[in-house]
């Protein structure tokens, strides 16, 4: 199973309105790995993520997930693929009129045959995995931003998707909770083998969870560098990449 490509991004060109966001980028995600997409603010990380889960269509290029080309506008291929992925949106994106338990139960009831009386306990287990025991009956508007994110994570992994896309899973969380989320990500990856594509800025998280990083460049609109973050920190040929990982103020960006 190892070393098999699960996502291929081929010659992708993305426009946002009239602005060129990403120009001709190609990369691959290997099954079972944790890939982190990095870059300065506004370089198109979240836009790239939206393209990869099929929420918007690229201007040119292809994205193939698990053998299905999701950019082909073939609805059947898309529906097959969408069941294999889970997405955590930046602000959780919980349904506001439903409690946390109902939010997590939504896909479980719809897409599995778990007996109704057991769904409640399963949801409780899923929520306790992200440390939200006792908040089952709260509405999203009654909990903090960090909790929303964790509940969103519980919902994203409710169906044990093959691939999890996480948009800034630890941003805005306190260090203890952030570390717990990192542990959870690693735990899921290790024990269930879920492939993770993570967009984040948090250096601690990157060094802890990332097996490989891809760094986007907002000047050339391409991929600046890729590889193991610990390696890039020391040996990247790009000064900006070294600055990023060493958290230094930059003059290298021209």
């Amino acid at each position: 199973m190892r070393d098999e490509k699960i996502i291929s991004v081929i010659d992708l060109i993305i426009f946002y309105g009239d602005d060129l966001i990403l120009d001709n980028i190609s990369f691959e995600v290997i099954e079972g790995e944790i890939l982190v997409i990095l870059g300065t603010s506004g370089c198109g990380k979240s836009t790239l993520l939206r393209q990869m889960v099929g929420l918007s269509h690229p201007w040119a290029g292809k994205i193939i997930i698990d053998g299905n080309e999701i950019t082909s506008r073939d609805e059947e291929a898309f529906n097959r693929t969408i069941r294999k992925i889970g997405i955590l949106f930046q602000s959780g994106a919980l349904i506001g009129s439903m409690t946390l338990a109902e939010n997590v139960a939504l896909p479980i009831i719809e897409f599995t045959d778990i007996p109704v009386q057991s769904v409640e306990n399963l949801v409780k287990m899923k929520l306790s995995m992200v440390g939200l025991t006792g908040y089952e009956n709260h509405l999203p508007s009654e909990i903090s931003g960090g909790m929303k994110k964790r509940a969103g994570l519980a919902r994203a992994m409710a169906l044990n998707p093959k691939i999890l896309f996480l948009d800034e899973p630890t941003a805005g969380l306190d260090p203890v909770i952030a570390a717990e989320i990192d542990e959870l990500i690693l735990g899921i990856n290790r024990s269930i083998g879920t492939t993770m594509v993570i967009v984040t800025h948090e250096l601690d998280s990157i060094f802890k969870v990332a097996q490989r990083v891809i760094m986007l460049d907002s000047i050339t609109k391409g991929i600046l560098d890729e590889g193991d973050p610990r390696d890039l920190k020391m040996n990247s040929s790009e000064p900006f990449v070294r600055q990023f990982f060493n958290r230094q103020a930059g003059s290298a960006k021209k």
Binding site: E120, N121, M125
Partner: protein, 380 residues
């Protein structure tokens, strides 16, 4: 008791031990795809007679995820409830990882099942009363704040956000003209037509003009226009301010030192108080035109005599009265719309509720105040 079950890729084998214990051997994939059927079968099986001990053998499990762990949790709970002993044998490293991921050991028989709290009826009544009291308090304070801000603006005209006010006048006045004109025209048409059936019997065709003019200018014009505007503008005020409230924009304004009522409420109220009376006048004119069409083409009146009769019927008092009424309705619609918006708490559904209740209570208050004004006038 030995059974073999074929699901997609998972099977289990049950065998009994000496002392009423049971061993379950799972073979294959115990995951999201297979857990549902296994769970329902095994739970039914063990609920009938709970074994004194249950041993789960995971030696032949090829894939195991947290849904599999959940099956084990449910079995453990069932067995523990009957004071039985639960144990897992032959679990591999990956399986152990999953079990620790879901914190398997913390689950026992005493797992508190969450249920929606049932409210005691007295608690319910009390809560509703407190909510209503808070509602009224909020309403009074908002009304006060809006009035004070408007007086403040009258003395300090520079504090009015003029650009906003003009945009709002355009959006809620000019853009509403076509629909108001159409509705009023048709209303005038209908009124003239229906009244002509009665008046024709007496040969009093010309009084159709008086009826349409009087009914429209003093009653229906202000009310119809206000109701249309309550539906159009009241809901949009509530939805817009409600969304701002929910997304903390109002809090941001407040913390920057702006008075939200002055910033959002006053321009909206002023804009509507300027355009609604104007819309009402247009509404009157279009209704009279509608009546004119019926008068000329069905009743055989000349346009000239129809217009003369209309002018003769209307006094300045009627026109001023209608104008004043629409001014009051404008204040009501704007005030209720903004109030419901500011009141919204929570998420998307709160915004929807705000828009709905802005329209409902707006229309109710319009009719209520119209009745009050009618009573006052009859004792004038």
């Amino acid at each position: 008791m030995t059974g073999i079950n074929n699901t997609q890729t998972c099977r289990y084998k049950i065998s009994e031990t000496d002392n009423n214990g049971i061993i379950v051997y799972f073979i294959g994939e115990l995951s999201i795809d297979t857990s549902a059927s296994i769970l329902s079968e095994l739970i039914i099986l063990f609920k009938k007679d709970i074994p004194s001990s249950l041993i789960i053998d995971l030696g032949n499990v090829t894939y195991f995820d947290d849904f599999g762990a959940f099956v084990l949790i449910e079995l453990k709970k069932t067995v523990n409830k009957g004071k039985g002993v639960f144990s897992i044998v032959n679990s591999g490293d990956k399986t152990k990882d999953v079990l620790s991921l879901v914190d398997f050991d913390s689950y026992g028989s005493d797992l508190p099942v969450f249920k929606k709290r049932r409210k005691n009826i007295f608690v319910g009544i009390g809560e509703a009363t407190i909510n209503e009291a808070n509602n009224i308090k909020f309403m009074v304070s908002f009304l006060g704040s809006l009035t004070l801000s408007m007086i403040h603006v009258l003395f300090h005209p520079k504090s009015l956000r003029v650009d906003d006010t003009i945009t709002l006048m355009q959006k809620n006045g000019v853009d509403a003209l076509p629909i108001v004109a159409l509705i009023s025209f048709l209303l005038g048409l209908i009124m003239a037509f229906m009244s002509s059936i009665q008046l024709q019997q007496f040969g009093a065709n010309i009084y159709v003009a008086s009826l349409v003019a009087l009914a429209m200018v003093s009653e229906l014009g202000p009310i119809m226009t206000a109701i249309v505007v309550a539906g159009r503008t009241g809901s949009s005020y509530a939805a817009e301010i409600g969304t701002m409230q929910v997304s903390e924009e109002i809090d941001a304004l407040f913390s920057m030192g702006f008075n939200p009522t002055l910033f959002l409420g006053v321009p909206r109220t002023f804009a509507l108080m300027i355009v609604l009376p104007l819309l009402t006048i247009f509404s009157d004119i279009f209704a009279i035109l509608g009546g004119l069409v019926v008068g000329v083409f069905i009743l055989g009146l000349t346009p000239n005599s129809y217009i003369m009769q209309t002018i003769e019927t209307l006094s300045l008092l009627e026109i001023t009265w209608g104008f004043l009424k629409s001014l009051i309705f404008a204040f009501i619609v704007a005030c209720v719309g903004c109030f419901r918006g500011f009141q919204a708490r929570g998420g998307a559904s709160a915004v929807g509720n705000a828009a709905t209740s802005a329209v409902v209570s707006g229309i109710f208050l319009i009719i209520l105040f119209d009745s009050i004004i009618a009573v006052i006038r009859s004792y004038w």
